[in-house]
Amino acid sequence: MKILIVDDFSTMRRIIKNLMRDLGFNNTSEADDGKTALPMLQAGGFDFLITDWNMPGMQGIDLLKAVRADPKLATLPVLMVTAEAKREQIVEAAQAGVNGYVVKPFTAATLKEKIDKIFERIESAK
């Protein structure tokens, strides 16, 4: 399983990368905003996307919308990990088709729980 982690802060990317390794996901790549992430995703090979919301260049919500609009990527599971905590933002992400939403600061247990839930849903949908 190959995972793309998108966040403009390298410290947060490293934290998520290490947490994912703890959960048994060793194959991760990183991008610092939507603009760099989208071509990487379009090049193919990724099975999971973890993205921040607030980033310079292309924001996470726009990356999510671009992913859903791309026929090749439309079904890619997307987890949003962000400090954006307004109700309307969470609603917007949900409407755009996000699979999970984790608000920073978060714990390792929360991240694990949300990822497990996403995979459970994908399994049961099969």
Binding site: F9, T11, R14, I15, N18, L19, A83, A108
Partner: protein
Amino acid sequence: MSELNNHMEECLSIVRALSESIEEGNEDEVDRLLDEITKLRESSLFQEVGKLTRQLHETLNSFQVDSRILSLAESDIPDAKERLNYVITMTEQSANITLNAVEKALPISEQLKEQSSSLEKKWDRFRQRQMPVNEFRELSGEIGEFMVWTARNAEHLHEHLSDVMMAQDFQDLTGQIIRRVINMVQEVESGLVELIRISGQRMITVEKSGANKNSIEGDGPRIPGCESHKDRVSGQDDVDDLLSSLGF
């Protein structure tokens, strides 16, 4: 000046034509010329209204700058203080979590070192066949205990290291907050520059009108404590401060 002359000449030519038409008794022509004079009047009225509108627009614009500065002072700056206090809280929390985890992990690493070096010495004696059977039984028990202890404490170390890692999330969150405060400071700065530009213009006009009323007469050196000298600067520093407050 030439515009005014043109205007007067135009009026004059219409009035001449008008008096001729009246003498000739040409009623239609008289009406037409009267209309023309009215139009001339109206066009200069429109110009005045135009000027007034422009002034009003500019004044309203300068009010907008003022009200933005007001909202910066009333809500954004206290808000920024709150945000920066939160940054202090978060960095402090992270530092404490990190230090706590390190304080728990260090004794584990020390114990690990002590126990393994004690076992190593005994193991060496066993390998050199210098160990009686009874003692070997004891050693074998110790090795068993050590392995259980190591497995358990490796887990603890992992927990503590994870705590240290998670505590670093402050960098992202405080970074976002500080970025916003920097943006606000930049906005305050440009607002102040704009305000100085506007009020600076007013000050220059006030100075000019003041200078007209009572032209600057020599008044001698400043006298400290003198009531009528209160409006004077107290030294070069004040001069420099005043100038720099005006944007120099």
